[in-house]
Symmetry: C2
Subunit: 389 residues, 2 copies
């Protein structure tokens, strides 16, 4: 008997995370990850807070918690989301073990084997792999400068086949850095209603806008409970804590809770208490403004270096927020092969193919992250990449 | 279109965790949970350790980690498991977000929809629900005084149908408290080889023996890579931290790692570092001996109270370790109905039906936990239960 279940028999680990493992012990300049700058972590404050929690409320922090999440943290995050008009009174809400778990729970709760799920192409590999791991059929839809190509979506997909769910990162998309326009967000909701599908809105970077005007989340425009909203503290506080959250229709969330119960019972209580105390103890809006400023400067610096050093003809996005730039070499170069050369020269990036629905097809695109590296590393790394190109 | 995926359309949340939610704000004596006594948590030590980690290694603790787990913790746990002859050189090993995640990852990686999985009947509801949530077909096998009924297993199940996996808690089983004999463990492995199935050995309570002789784990007897071993720090250190682990054959573990990557990326780094520092900073064997002694005394106390107060004819197990006693009322009483009366009187337990494959069938059995309550609560609670009976 074949030991491995067919839902995961062909799926491979994230190439990005494999690179990450190699990088852990090297001196490589990594534009490959998607991590915030540790310089922004309020580690000293968190040290004091963690000590206090364990000393004064150790029994609570170390015991089992409830699956839906630690109530004070839930309330604190709900307060923030309501202030930003992201969720409404009707939304139910849970804490998850990182934003990735929202995708996983939504995929498991909603998508039958061989159900069709539309995804942006390119998209976040962790999202794509989560759907793949439940034997969903991924249908790629292109991303234009103002987000998902809705004409393509309706004409080439929705008019031809029944889809169950659409997965989108509308704001500072991973990997493209592109943001979907307000008009498109409204039209997408109309399409969801017309063709009866659900939308999973993944928004880990939404608060990291360093330029331009905020655009309402799709969730905030949704009056019919069609949007499952995934948020996270990973990019604005700490990824290692693994605190994400989900706002969704009651009936959907109920099943996601059951799935969470059998997945990890609950998100670690200490981490939830710590996140709660951080949100309450510091001016968190100011903390985010600091991150916006830093990433805005790093992004501008990387773009300036690319403008200066990259050969003519190479195209790239100019994001208004988030942590990624998407590069199109416009030449017949397989960036998977290019990566090997780059790593030898001491620079890493994410080859485009790993972000596509068809991961086997060679891609001349690549993803660059600017949040983690120092300004010096950015200049040095971009110079090296330019030389290779 | 039906919104909810069929794999979870009928599954319900754990009744135990629903009770748990009610209990969170009540004065009820709870024999319903499965939690360790918070008096055993080394909270002061952990307070100091967490403060030190965040102050001195904050960037590491708060950044993304690798999916397989924080290496120093892995090595420390592997060292313990090898000393106890639980794992061998050939086993691969990962850290998980609690022991529950091992079950979930194994179910997802190995079990196709409608594959047959043999489970002990009664068994751990979190395990049963995890298999249910992947549309596995559960086949119940009775548990005798010396563990799983192997004659029944071979004659009534294995000779008739192809099974993929057998899920067992051989040591101080949840909910029965029963331990599988060494001979049966060996014979079960032979059956796995003869009928070609895998064994998921769930062993969260194994170190909590307060009476009798240790029996080798099934994993330690397995020379053919048929056993996936699930362990946890939840019962011996802290459940709220959510640190579990899995030792298994390389090919199986590889797929479980991919599933973990799309589930929660990695177990929170701070928690892993904290667990590592605890294991290194204190005499952990002595800590476990303290737990063994306390739970041995609590178990003896609960049994003495039951012997004294319970009506004649009621039967119950006398475990040599772990945290549960399984009670057979031997009368035509539905313990789900009994629970309502008991909760009104201020005592909670787990009704037997929730631990069975057929959760709808009324059961005259119930599960009692003795690890969490105080000695006074145990006496008071058992007296109340006796009165109701």
């Amino acid at each position: 008997m074949e030991k491995i279940a067919n839902r995961v028999s062909t799926i491979k680990g994230s190439a990005i995370r494999e690179i990450f493992k190699v990088l852990a012990n090297g001196n490589i300049i990594s534009f490959a990850g998607g991590a915030p700058d540790p310089a922004l972590f309020p580690a000293d404050l968190m040290s004091d807070l963690a000590a206090g929690i364990l000393k004064n409320e150790g029994a609570l922090a170390l015991s089992y918690g409830i699956t839906e999440g630690y109530n004070p943290l839930k309330e604190e995050i709900i307060k923030r989301l309501k202030r930003q008009n992201i969720i409404s009174e009707n939304d139910n809400f849970i804490i998850t073990t990182g934003g990735q778990q929202v995708i996983d729970l939504a995929a498991k709760s909603l998508v039958n084997e061989f159900d069709k799920v539309v995804v942006e192409d390119p998209s976040f590999i962790g999202g794509l792999n989560s759907f793949r791991s439940y034997n969903a059929i991924l249908i790629p839809a292109p991303v234009l400068d103002d987000g998902l190509d809705l004409d393509y979506l309706e004409e080439k997909i929705l008019k031809k086949e029944k889809i169950k769910l659409l997965y989108t990162i509308p704001t500072f998309q991973n990997p493209s850095g592109i943001t979907m326009s307000l008009e498109k967000r409204k039209n997408l909701l109309d399409l969801a209603e017309k063709y009866d599908f659900l939308i999973l809105e993944d928004n880990p970077y939404g608060e990291l806008r360093f330029m331009g005007e905020d655009i309402p989340t799709i969730k905030s425009l949704d009056k019919l409970g069609r949007v499952i909203y995934a948020g996270s503290l990973s990019k604005v506080l700490s990824p290692g804590l693994r605190i994400g959250f989900c706002a969704a229709d009651k009936n959907i969330l109920e099943k996601m809770i059951v799935c969470k119960q059998v997945s990890d019972v609950h998100t670690p209580v200490l981490n939830q208490m710590l996140a709660h105390r951080v949100l309450c103890s510091m001016d968190f809006d100011k903390h985010i403004q600091k991150a916006q400023k830093l990433y805005g400067e790093k992004c501008a610096h990387m773009l300036a270096c690319m403008d200066k050093y990259f050969p003519q003809g190479v195209k790239y996005t100019r994001p208004e927020g988030g942590i990624f730039i998407w590069v199109d070499l416009k030449k017949d170069i397989d960036t998977k092969e290019l990566l090997k050369v780059a790593v030898e020269r001491g620079v890493a990036f994410v080859p485009g193919a790993t972000c596509m629905v068809d991961i086997e097809k060679p891609s001349n695109k690549l993803r660059l992250n600017y949040s983690l590296s120092t300004f010096e590393q950015i200049e040095k790394g971009i110079k090296i990449l330019a030389e290779i190109l």
